[in-house]
């Protein structure tokens, strides 16, 4: 597609529920990042995918968080048993030639 597409744009869930956030990167971009941005804060690195290499999961805050990237394209970030502190905007970016292009983000609110 023309840009990085993320869905849903907004998600409100109850504490303890699981959520899935989707990222559709720009066609041909081999690298994909997930970041988290809490209100008024900077970007916190979560996970990085590059081609068929094993992902860099060093930023995932707990084992409730996981992500996969199928076929080197679409990525899904899953948060299990959500907590209120998971509330944030989850941003996906894909890269080509080292230039990051961000999606509009998925705003997650855990009640």
């Amino acid at each position: 597609g023309a840009g990085v597409s993320q869905s849903p744009s907004n998600k409100v869930t109850e504490k303890g529920k699981d959520v899935e956030l989707r990222c559709d990167p720009i066609s041909g971009h081999t690298a994909l990042y997930w970041y988290r941005q809490s209100l008024g804060q900077g970007l916190e690195f979560l996970i990085y995918f590059q081609g068929n290499s094993a992902p860099d999961k060093s930023g995932l805050p707990s084992d409730r968080f996981s992500a996969e990237r199928t076929g080197g394209s679409v990525s899904t970030l899953t948060i299990q048993r959500t907590q209120q502190e998971d509330s944030a905007v989850y941003l996906c970016a894909s890269t080509r030639a080292n230039v990051l292009t961000f999606g509009a983000g998925s705003r997650l609110t855990v009640l």
């Binding site: 690298a31 690195f45 230039v99 990051l100």
Partner: protein
């Protein structure tokens, strides 16, 4: 991972003023980028500048890789320049962001 520090954390300007934002990073980098996050949250890439100087209209950026810093210059600021400016430094595919500089340009 790389540590990235930005200064100042907040900046308030009168329209028409010039400003300089700074980004320090802790290690050698392959990649240094500046982003603007608008009030709606969208992050827009401003510059890809691992070294040297680039200019785009009223904005320019300089990275001195050997001294581990980058500067973003905004000249003749406009209210539409308001938002948060982030720099991001990358080494070996590990890209880390600074905490940002929140710029407010008053009319």
């Amino acid at each position: 991972g790389i540590q990235v520090e930005q200064s100042p954390p907040d900046l308030i300007l009168q329209e028409g003023a010039n400003s300089t934002l700074r980004c320090n990073f802790s290690d050698s980098v392959n990649n240094l980028q500046w982003f603007h996050q608008n009030p709606w949250g969208q992050l827009i890439n401003l510059f890809y500048i691992p070294s040297g100087t680039k200019q785009n209209g009223r904005l320019s950026a300089t990275t001195v890789a050997t001294e581990r810093y980058s500067l973003l210059y905004i000249s003749s600021s406009q209210t539409t320049d308001s938002g948060v400016y982030f720099c991001a430094a990358e080494y070996n595919n590990d890209m880390r962001f600074g905490a940002g500089t929140r710029l407010t340009v008053k009319p």
